[in-house]
């Protein structure tokens, strides 16, 4: 698999470590009501789709950036690669939320 890094261009997937579903960016608020259930779902439950899947990859043998890679789990085709930082900021994270 080749991952088309937004800054470095196409890189071999062996340079990366995958951490899992990109939904992990949306860490629940530990002080909110129902935080226990929210954390259970966040930590343990997965959509695990057959088809397009957004996931977090870490470029540990490269520039150590975090990426959100959209990939097809039926064909291994890499559809889209974004910097996780930009995805997280677009979700409104990193603003004290």
């Amino acid at each position: 698999m080749l991952i088309d890094h937004p800054l470095l261009g196409p890189r071999d997937a062996a340079e990366f470590t995958i951490i899992g579903d990109a939904a992990l960016i949306a860490r629940p608020d530990g002080l909110a009501d129902g935080a226990l259930d929210a954390f259970h779902d966040y930590l343990h439950l997965r959509d695990n789709p057959a088809g397009e899947h957004r996931e977090l990859w870490y470029h540990d043998h490269g520039d150590r950036s975090w990426l959100v890679v959209t990939r097809d789990t039926l064909t291994h085709a890499v559809i889209k690669v974004e910097l996780a930082r930009e995805v997280a900021l677009a979700m409104g994270r990193g603003e004290g939320k």
Partner: protein
């Protein structure tokens, strides 16, 4: 037809013209008492034990492809019960005991071959862990023998004992472990279930569930709707896809595990040998091919094939303990889709929908569990209570704080 040496003899005289297909190809009935989704090892074993142990034969097995087309035909055929934790070890030991009587039980040659399994250890700490594991196994009624360096050297002189990074100090040996002809397991269970009246319906994909007021009433399939009082989902690899149609999210990710076989060689590896400092396990098939595997590829996938970095990683593991295999040529490799659960342990449990039962999350270890998995799932379906050896395999164990952290890795590839 009961198989025996006499049958082979008389059929030989008759030009082998009298052998019959060993299961029917029935049309689905409008409804059954129990539906089993998934015609692989676990589903067929569940149906077999429902019919044989509990006398429940108004049962159908629904299989989306052909019988045994999933992981029962794609594994490395190893059986063992060398687990540590109380939630696991009695279950896997039950499985090994069922393997030992399986061929007589279902009158089919599954080539159960108990040639032993050796887990190597490479440090003092690993030796201590092996002693602890061996004691846990013996306490659960299994067998375990600690081999020191000299004893191991007599059994397996070809191992790289003085490897620069991971010198081999010894191994934990389970003499009753071994290998089984995996396809024959599916065929034997299918034949046994069919002959007791279970309908095995192939090319019948479940597309949805009929659920009324939180009670399951049946399924929608590509061959029409089928009613049922109870439904067991035994579709490991596709568990999330099937259960999503019932509106349930599971603590499971699907990953690919690759396996490899070399060209046929003269007998060299007596049983199963596993690397203690990396992930690599190897045995030799009856045809002479070295059968081996290692880690999952690490990314979510439903494709039954992996990528080259893991091929390299697995072969490196092999070279680290057994440099002699370096000149053997790799003949084939393939991949199977695993249900990787969040703690690396399986589920056999009810779900939040009444009448819907779930069997899955087997990670790398589903094949060896096949008989006990079927036994315990059948027990749960027939009696309404979990089998005593499978009480820890709860689907809600993460919510209640009772994960089974046998290895503590689960689906997280960077922890493997």
């Amino acid at each position: 037809m009961k198989y025996s040496a006499w049958k082979i003899f008389t059929q030989g005289l008759a030009g082998n013209s009298g052998w019959k297909p060993v299961w029917r190809e029935p049309e689905p009935k409008p409804s059954y008492d129990i539906l089993v989704i998934g015609g692989g090892g676990h589903g067929l074993a569940t149906a077999y034990y429902l019919a044989k142990e509990h006398g429940l034969a108004n049962v159908a097995v629904l299989e989306k492809g052909w019988l045994g087309s999933g992981n029962i035909g794609r594994n490395t055929t190893i059986i063992r019960s060398n687990y540590l934790l109380p939630g696991n070890e009695p279950f896997y030991e039950l499985s090994l005991k069922l393997w030992e009587g399986l061929e007589q039980d279902f009158n089919f040659n599954a080539m159960v071959s108990q040639r032993g399994i050796i887990n190597l250890y490479h440090s003092d700490a690993q030796r201590d862990a092996a002693v602890r594991r061996g004691n846990a196994m013996i306490m659960a009624g299994a067998d375990a023998v600690l081999l020191d360096r000299d004893a191991l050297k007599r059994k397996c002189p070809y191992l790289d004992f003085d490897n620069g990074r991971f010198p081999i100090q010894g191994g934990l040996w389970q003499p009753r472990g071994g290998t089984v002809r995996h396809d024959a397991v599916a065929w034997g269970y299918a034949r046994g279930a069919d002959s007791r009246g279970v309908d095995i319906i192939q090319n019948c994909e479940v597309t949805g569930f009929k659920i009324e007021n939180g009670v399951v009433k049946g399924v929608e399939t590509t061959r029409g709707s089928i009613g049922a009082k109870k439904i067991a989902v035994c579709a490991a690899g596709s568990s999330s896809r099937v259960m999503a149609t019932a509106g349930l999210r599971l603590p499971i990710e699907s990953h690919v595990l690759q396996a490899f076989v070399s060209e046929g060689l003269k007998p060299i590896v007596p049983g199963v040998i596993t690397f203690g400092a990396g992930h690599f396990y190897i045995s030799q098939s009856d045809k002479g091919g070295l059968v081996f595997g290692g880690d999952i590829d690490g990314y979510n996938t439903y494709a039954q094939r992996g990528n080259l970095p893991v091929v390299e990683d697995v072969c490196e593991g092999g070279m680290a303990i057994m440099p002699m295999i370096g000149r053997a040529r790799l003949l084939r490799s393939w991949g199977g889709v695993m249900d990787m659960s969040m703690d690396g342990s399986p589920f056999i449990d009810r779900t939040s929908i009444e009448g819907l039962y779930f069997n899955g999350g087997w990670c790398y270890g589903g094949f060896k569990a096949t008989p006990a998995s079927g036994w315990c799932t059948a027990h749960l379906l027939a009696t309404g209570n979990p089998h005593p050896t499978a009480t820890a395999y709860r689907l809600d164990r993460f919510r209640t704080g009772h994960p089974i952290d046998e290895k503590g890795a689960g689906a997280q590839a960077n922890l493997h």
